[in-house]
């Protein structure tokens, strides 16, 4: 008790007071932060959630005193008893500082940096200098901040790396020799080198695949338990990641803190419209069929001056007052909310959020799944294979000591049926061959072997033709091209920046020579643009892609894909580059098009939650092989294959905590060249037995939900029990 009392008297570890940051750019002043107040006590784990442009990274930079010289600061940040960010010492004013002043500043900062506040960056990107070994870069921290002799530093570094569950041999390797997950662990080890008081983790898991992400989260939790991390600020766009680690969550939008509360409170009963709508945008594997609304509109332009609330333009609950005056951060008990109506919401949140709902009811039946099983089959894949020749295959034989194989088995032996009007989710980690499968189905890539039957009949009958080996100039192939379209991952790369939106949208019309009449084309374009909810279409027709936001661009891509009313749409990770609030509405767009036009969609993604939300059936792919197939609810609630089990367990979900343990899966994604002889998952499977190594596993389960494994569910359960006993 006494100790706690002392701690409380000491005051906060970190205090942010009235902090505003503006960046001076050529396009005007970007108001990145407005009047931020924040206090962090020792031992707290704080999460900061926000979309791009919310100012969360700027806040992290001000806390670690790393603001660039074009920043204009007011207010201050105080760490323990030192002011580390203030108008006098950071950003713009450092440019004009005298040398002697700067020296004093850097020496005080050097004491705080890494000793007091250390950072965990995105290790999957390049946070390590590529020309030095990992060991040297961790040692550098000790040489800067301590006077320890060389041998002792080396010993300490080895200890550090061991606490992060890494093999000491990584110390001698260069960053490019490590995988993303290993680099991230090394970054964590480096951040804990001087046992700092405060650790800031800026998007620590972005860019990693789901399983590495789960392992990193576990790691951080364990380090907290062991007392290695005392206080943590975790910043992420992913509420799932934040909710796994933080006690208290800050929600940021447009440079303001919109809500601050304990994690459970914020998830159960948000007191702010933005938080409410944001929570409604996250697809979750645990939520039962519930429509995601998303947030309409675009992220705010922070260079503009606005009299009212930043969120007012997009808020469903906005009143006149919201556009006219800025709200205040109201304190309601322990919680804070930045809204004019915070009091009203706090009294009865459910009433407020349901009574003021204005839009979105019409879409509620989107998720109603009509029974597709009665529909006719559109596409049948039979033992479809796509092997890529290693281009250096001749040299491969010459230099063959590394790999004796000549092919990349991108897609290996996939048999599948897609009904008309079905949305099929293809789920897999990067490198699993899911994109290749999508392209093979479109026949933009040639088929190596197997059959691709397509139903060409115009009415309810069946008219299957195998187009796996059909030549590109044939009539049948052209007909198939008209039936199919594709959307790509990156809305910034997939639209030609030098073309008008109307030209981009009508490109397929011109390519297939459907019509040459410009009036007709324009009509088609405007109709399609209104279909993808870019209203009014005239506003978009004569603009260029760079004038649109990411979400709008992806809609333009959708319009281009849909202008010829294709039967099959292949969507390759269409939402992974979009902000969270825009994702849900894009998914809803696909659903509504499906409902209206009986569109068939092949939805390729690494994000199981969104696949569950949108698709009827899901196929899980591992190294080119379909390992589990089932209706989306079935597959998520009752996964059968060990890989699917691990994958689903690894998703950091907003609603509910799952313990992910290292034994669920071993190692990292393998390669599609040197595949194991027997089961493809052998190298990573925790249930593996002797027979998995050399024998191909059979298909098990029912027609509607099958998986590929040597063992039935009971046998798997027994193996697990035996293992636990040992």
């Amino acid at each position: 008790m006494e100790k706690e009392m002392i701690k409380l008297n000491q005051g906060p570890l970190l205090e942010v007071k009235d902090l505003s940051v503006e960046f001076l750019t050529d396009f005007g002043n970007v108001k990145a932060l407005n009047n931020i107040n924040l206090q962090i006590k020792e031992g707290e784990f704080i999460g900061i959630v926000g979309e791009s442009g919310s100012g969360k990274s700027t806040l992290a930079f001000s806390i670690s005193a790393l603001l660039p010289p074009n920043a204009k600061v007011s207010g201050y940040v105080k760490f323990k008893n030192d002011i580390i960010t203030s108008p006098e010492i950071s950003g713009f004013s450092t440019v004009k500082m005298k040398r002697s002043q700067r020296k004093i500043l850097t020496s005080t900062m050097a004491n705080i940096r890494w000793k007091g506040i250390s950072m965990i960056f995105q290790g999957a990107m390049n946070s390590f200098n590529p020309v030095y070994t990992i060991g040297k870069q961790i040692e550098e921290v000790f040489y800067i901040h301590t006077d320890l002799p060389k041998e002792e530093v080396k010993k300490k570094v080895v200890d550090l790396v061991k606490t992060a569950h890494l093999d000491p041999s990584v110390l001698k390797s260069y960053p490019h020799e490590l995988s993303g997950g290993m680099k991230q662990r090394a970054i964590i080890a480096m951040a804990l080198a001087l046992s700092p008081d405060l650790v800031i983790a800026d998007e620590p898991t972005t860019g990693l695949d789901v399983i590495s992400q789960a392992k990193i989260i576990e790691e951080l939790k364990r380090l907290r338990k062991e007392g290695k991390i005392k206080t943590l600020i975790i910043i992420s766009h992913d509420l799932g990641v934040v909710s796994q680690l933080a006690d208290r969550v800050l929600v940021m939008y447009g440079g303001n803190i919109f809500e601050e509360a304990n994690k459970d409170e914020i998830l159960e009963k948000p007191f702010n419209p933005y938080t409410f709508e944001l929570l409604n945008s996250y697809p979750s594997i645990l939520k039962t069929d519930q429509i995601l609304k998303g947030i309409p509109g675009n992220p705010p332009d922070l260079t503009k001056d606005r009299p009212g609330c930043v969120f007012a333009e997009r808020c469903e609950f906005a009143q006149q007052i919201c556009f006219e005056t800025k709200p205040k951060l109201m304190e309601i008990g322990e919680r804070k909310s930045y809204c004019h109506f915070a009091d009203t919401i706090a009294k009865d949140p459910i009433k407020f959020f349901t009574s003021n709902l204005t839009a979105g009811e019409g879409a509620l039946d989107l998720l109603e799944r009509s029974d597709i099983s009665k529909n006719k089959t559109l596409i049948k894949l039979e033992n479809l294979k796509k092997y890529f020749n290693l281009r250096g295959s001749a040299s491969g034989e010459l230099f063959g000591s590394i790999s004796s194989k000549k092919f990349v088995r991108a897609v290996d032996d996939i048999t599948l049926e897609i009904k008309e009007g079905e949305i099929l989710g293809l789920v897999g980690e990067s490198g699993s061959g899911k994109t290749t499968l999508g392209r093979v189905v479109l026949r933009t890539l040639d088929v190596t072997s197997g059959h691709l039957y397509v139903n060409f009949s115009k009415d309810s009958g069946d008219d299957f033709k195998d187009i796996a080996k059909v030549k590109e100039k044939s009539k049948l192939f052209k007909e198939y091209r008209l039936m199919t379209q594709m959307i790509f991952q990156d809305p910034y790369d997939s639209l030609n920046p030098k073309m008008l939106i109307s030209d981009i949208v009508t490109e397929p019309v011109r390519a297939h020579k459907v019509t040459k009449d410009p009036m007709e084309m324009e009509e088609m374009a405007s109709y399609t643009l209104s279909l993808v909810k870019l209203n009014p279409p005239e506003r978009y027709m004569d603009r260029y892609p760079h004038e649109l936001s990411g979400g709008e661009r992806q809609r333009v891509a959708m319009a281009r894909a849909f202008i010829l009313k294709p039967k099959l749409l292949v969507a390759d990770e269409p939402i992974s580059m979009l902000d969270v609030s825009l994702r849900a509405s894009f998914l809803n767009l696909i659903l509504s098009l499906r409902k209206e036009f009986n569109l068939t969609v092949l939805y390729i993604t690494h994000d199981i939650a969104s696949a569950k939300y949108i698709s009827d059936n899901i196929l899980v792919i591992y190294l080119g092989e379909g390992i589990e197939y089932g209706s989306s609810n079935d597959l998520i609630n009752n996964p059968l294959h060990p890989y699917t089990k691990a994958l689903i367990k690894a998703i950091p979900d907003v609603y509910g905590m799952k313990e992910f343990s290292e034994t669920d899966i071993i190692g990292e994604v393998g390669n599609a060249i040197d595949i194991p002889q027997g089961c493809r998952f052998y190298d990573r499977c925790p249930y593996r037995q002797e027979k998995c190594k050399n024998e191909k596993p059979p298909k098990r389960g029912t027609e509607n939900h099958w998986y590929i494994c040597h063992f039935s569910q009971e046998e798997l359960e027994n193996i697990r029990k035996n293992k636990n006993q040992k």
């Binding site: 390049n126 200098n129 800067i144």
Partner: protein
């Protein structure tokens, strides 16, 4: 010969002292022995190719020194037997495109037996031997100085990003880098020599001053070579400033620089330890290219300031259709360039751990 030179370089006391014996081999010799062997073979083959190109280019040129010679010989009443003897001595008896002539040529080239000068009758090797130290002195000093000046200036320029001094430095470098060697040389000559008489009219001096080092001798040499050196260094250093700055700016935007800053590395540490080492990688790839430019520039500058180096010889020998001398000079210049390429390759592999294929 090349093998001997290379072997000498790699096994010399200087080299082994710093790179092989005192430090663990694997750490410094980033290339393994097979790759090293490949690089050496490549250098040799390249030298052979250069000799072939020199041969072809000179045989394709119009005019025929034999005709020239024989014209004089006929004039003084030479017998056909004497004429044939002269032809075979010049290696032209079987025609320009004869295999045996070519082989003799190759043998002579690689044993540095370049024959006799057509005009004065001196051994070519001696003429080149006399001129070589001048060229090496000028080239080596210019290369070193342009690096010593250009690279730090580039780093400093990237440091003061967004200030007036940066714009000033970039503009000046751009202007200097786009001036051809001969224009800058002529301008310097007109102002510093003709108008103000600061520097000497011709840059030639005896090799005595090179081989007998003393302070006044050094000063004298410096005074003589100042103008050609300034011409070369100014333009080359400007190029280095520009490439180094561009490389530094892109490196400073990388994530690991932010990490280093958060770690508390001092500004100088960030600039020199973290950024400069990475920025040097693209600069060294361009270095090979710039070295070739420098060699070409050296030839022009030597002619301009009558610097008695190989470029000077090459120029006049080519004008006089003095095959033996100009072939020899050209071949030696290309040999120097090839050796420089090999060394640059090695430096590059040492700087960047990612390049090992």
């Amino acid at each position: 010969m090349l093998i001997i030179i290379l072997r000498y370089i790699f096994t010399s006391k200087f080299f082994s002292k710093f790179y092989i014996q005192n430090l663990p081999l694997g750490k410094w010799v980033k290339m393994n022995i097979y790759l090293l062997a490949r690089k050496i073979i490549q250098a040799i083959v390249l030298a052979v190719l250069m000799a072939v190109i020199v041969y072809v280019v000179y045989r394709l040129m119009p005019g025929n020194p034999a005709e020239l010679f024989l014209f004089g010989a006929k004039h003084y009443g030479a017998t056909p037997a004497q004429m044939n003897a002269l032809l075979s001595e010049l290696g032209l008896s079987g025609g320009k495109w004869n295999l045996m002539n070519f082989l003799i040529y190759m043998k002579d080239m690689f044993t540095f037996n370049f024959g006799y000068d057509y005009i004065r009758g001196e051994p070519v090797w001696e003429i080149i031997n006399y001129a070589m130290p001048y060229t090496l002195l000028l080239l080596g000093t210019a290369l070193a100085l342009s690096f010593i000046i250009g690279i730090p200036l580039g780093i400093v320029t990237s440091w003061v990003r967004g200030k007036k001094s940066e714009a000033f430095s970039i503009t000046i470098s751009l202007i200097l880098n786009s001036i051809p060697f001969f224009i800058l040389g002529v301008i310097l000559y007109i102002y510093l020599v003709s108008f103000y008489h600061i520097f000497p009219v011709t840059s030639g001096f005896s090799t005595y001053y090179l081989y007998h080092f003393s302070w006044p001798n050094f000063e004298f040499v410096l005074y003589k070579m100042a103008l050609p050196l300034i011409t070369l260094v100014v333009i080359e250093a400007a190029a280095h400033v520009l490439t180094m700055r561009a490389a530094m700016v892109s490196t400073l935007g990388e994530d690991y620089i932010l990490t280093a800053r958060a770690k508390g590395v001092s500004e100088a540490g960030i600039m020199f330890r973290h950024a400069a080492r990475n920025a040097m990688i693209p600069v060294t790839t361009r270095m090979a290219l710039e070295f070739a430019g420098l060699t070409g520039g050296a030839v022009i500058v030597e002619i301009l300031f009558s610097w008695p180096g190989i470029g000077h010889i090459l120029y006049y020998a080519t004008l006089m259709e003095d095959y033996a001398l100009s072939e020899g000079a050209l071949f030696l210049i290309s040999l120097i360039t090839i050796i420089a390429y090999v060394l640059i390759d090695y430096i590059h592999a040492w700087l960047d751990p990612r390049i090992r294929v």
